[in-house]
């Protein structure tokens, strides 16, 4: 099988949530001598990106997206040992969590997933996280990006607090802050002084990439 064809089939199998097929094809890609990184990037991650689009179009829902990600992870497990070390360097480090008072975490988990797929190293803080903890954990972890989620309007002020704490400590410029979740708008993101906003998990990756590429504000997406 040709390389392009194989990668396309891998992407399709991720979209179709077929773990076994993904595993088999990932093995095949190794036998065919295809670079493991390329298979991840142009096969598995491509498939996951498409799954993200389908989710956005309401063709897929949360269960489907999680299954796609499981299928992708099966492939990654096969390929990981074959990654050359130069490939392992990641795009950047992200800490992500849901603000204090909010325990909705389905959306945040999808964002984490897509970020990981997109090549970021992610530390998931979980849910119900006090603003100060976002900052202390980002410092500890050496993060480039702080991702903050909330689905409730009542807990939105917690996002601003994170930004304020960063400013007060004089470390605001060390981090790019991106926010998201149901009630969050680009205008709100701007108002609290965040660097980026994304309305869904697929866009979150693009915004993060843009921000680390130092394109100024990424509030548009």
């Amino acid at each position: 099988m040709e390389k392009e064809e194989l990668l396309r089939q891998i992407a399709d199998a991720v979209v179709e949530m077929e773990e076994d097929t993904v595993e088999e094809l990932a093995q095949q890609s190794l036998t065919a001598g295809i670079d493991a990184y390329e298979t991840i990037d142009l096969g598995l991650a491509k498939g996951m990106e498409r799954a993200g689009q389908l989710f956005d179009e309401e063709e897929y829902f949360v269960p489907e997206l999680l299954m796609c990600s499981d299928a992708m992870n099966v492939g990654i497990d096969v390929l990981k040992p074959h990654l050359k070390s130069e490939n392992v360097s990641k795009k950047g480090k992200v800490v992500i969590g849901v603000v204090e008072g909010d325990t909705h975490d389905i959306g945040k988990n999808l964002v984490r997933l897509m970020m990981e797929t997109g090549g970021f190293e992610v530390l998931d803080l979980g849910r119900d996280i006090p603003p100060a903890e976002f900052v202390s954990k980002a410092e500890e972890y050496g993060a480039d990006i702080i991702g903050i989620a909330t689905l409730m309007t009542t807990t939105m002020p917690g996002m601003k607090e994170v930004v304020d704490i960063l400013a007060n400590k004089g470390i605001r410029d060390k981090y790019k802050v991106i926010v998201g979740g149901g009630p969050i708008s680009p205008a709100f993101a701007k108002k609290i002084g965040a660097d980026g906003y994304a309305r869904n998990a697929a866009d979150a990756v693009k915004v993060a990439e843009k921000l680390l590429g130092n394109t100024d504000l990424a509030l548009g997406a």
């Binding site: 999680l66 008072g101 409730m152 309007t153 009630p183």
Partner: protein
């Protein structure tokens, strides 16, 4: 501020409305949950294990606002807690789920744990006995004038609290049988609980957030949630009670199914188009909703509340099976009292829905 007075009790109003007789105003239910704690000046966590206090708060809140349904509710997790899940009680905020009772490993290889689950005993387990006590006290105090409801979390959502939301959602595609087991044992808990709720003299009121099309597709809803909801609703009907069903978020793709499940009243979230609901299912079920709980009720001005209330009444005052002016979901705890008053006062100013000529004539 003018003192607005009702001419009918909630029960008189609902009864007359159902018969198509003139009423003083549309029924109105700003869905008060833990805001009741603010009415009597206690902390939300004081409600834990204290049925008397829950009752006191809900009676006081009703007497303050005079809405048309009291819903005894503190959080969604009472039944899951009674089945062994951990619930975390912040000092003064709504409780949330800690560790679910079934701790599945990431590979989902210990699914047999699910077989160990047993339905909760409403008279013994967790905080259920206290909730039942609260319901009895409320009914004794004001049950003659206002309908009293007891919150029941639907089988699919309760299942998510037994294994964790993400695991449940995964299992819908990975291991349907496990989901059916979870929903079945949740249903059994539900059935026992609604029997107890009805024995307490109260009407069960169903809420099922995870069934939302914001989370699962209509197809999966029909497969995993609908059959159990239907059994639950049939059972409640057998006991002579009507059922209100609330599902959060997007639901337009499942309204038909919610009707099929047997619901008598659909509570429509602000994420859904209630005008469309009127057109599609308003001829078969009563509707309630869908003023924004947070953006309007919590954060809006009194003026915002009035506008939003007028807007929703314009859309659905003539829904064939009736309409209850309500918030799209439970109100956040800190919702200002004046906004709750304003929702009711606006409805009072609008008056008898049968006297409304057309939507544009509605002002308040």
């Amino acid at each position: 501020m003018t003192e607005w007075k009702d001419e009918m009790t909630a029960i008189e109003r609902m009864t007359a409305y159902a018969k198509g007789e003139d009423i003083d105003r549309l029924p109105c239910v700003p869905i008060v949950g833990n805001t009741a704690a603010r009415v009597i000046g206690v902390k939300v966590s004081d409600f834990r294990g204290n049925g008397e206090l829950i009752a006191k708060a809900h009676i006081a809140a009703y007497k303050l606002f005079h809405y048309d349904n009291i819903r005894v509710f503190t959080d969604l997790y009472t039944q899951a807690e009674a089945m062994g899940s951990e619930v975390i009680y912040p000092e003064d905020e709504t409780a949330y789920l800690g560790q679910p009772v079934i701790k599945l490993d990431p590979r989902l290889s210990n699914l047999d744990e699910i077989d160990k689950l047993r339905p909760a005993d409403p008279y013994k387990d967790g905080n259920l006995p206290e909730h039942l006590k609260a319901m009895r006290i409320v009914v004794d105090a004001v049950g003659e004038e206002v309908p009293v409801g007891g919150a029941v979390t639907g089988p699919f959502t309760n299942s998510s609290f037994l294994v964790g939301a993400e695991n449940l959602v995964r299992l819908t595609l990975k291991n349907p049988e496990a989901v059916h087991k979870l929903c079945q044992v949740s249903l059994e808990s539900n059935l026992r609980y609604v029997d107890a709720v009805i024995d307490a003299g109260v009407t069960p009121s169903l809420t099922d957030a995870m069934s939302s099309s914001t989370v699962i597709s209509p197809r999966l809803f029909r497969k995993f949630s609908l059959p159990y909801l239907k059994k639950l609703i049939d059972h409640i009907h057998d006991k002579g009670k009507k059922v209100t069903l609330h599902i959060c978020g997007k639901t337009d793709g499942i309204w038909e199914d919610m009707v099929k499940a047997g619901a008598d009243c659909l509570s429509i979230d602000n994420d859904a188009d209630i005008l469309k609901a009127k057109e599609l299912v308003g001829d078969r079920v009563m509707l309630m909703g869908n003023v924004r709980p947070s953006e309007t009720m919590l954060e809006g001005t009194v003026e915002d509340v009035r506008k939003a209330t007028v807007e929703v009444v314009r859309k659905v005052y003539d829904s064939p099976k009736g309409f209850i002016v309500a918030s799209g979901c439970s109100l956040p705890t800190e919702t200002p009292f004046e906004n709750i008053h304003e929702m009711l006062n606006t409805v009072r100013r609008i008056g008898n829905p049968f006297a409304i000529k057309d939507a544009t004539s509605i002002v308040a």
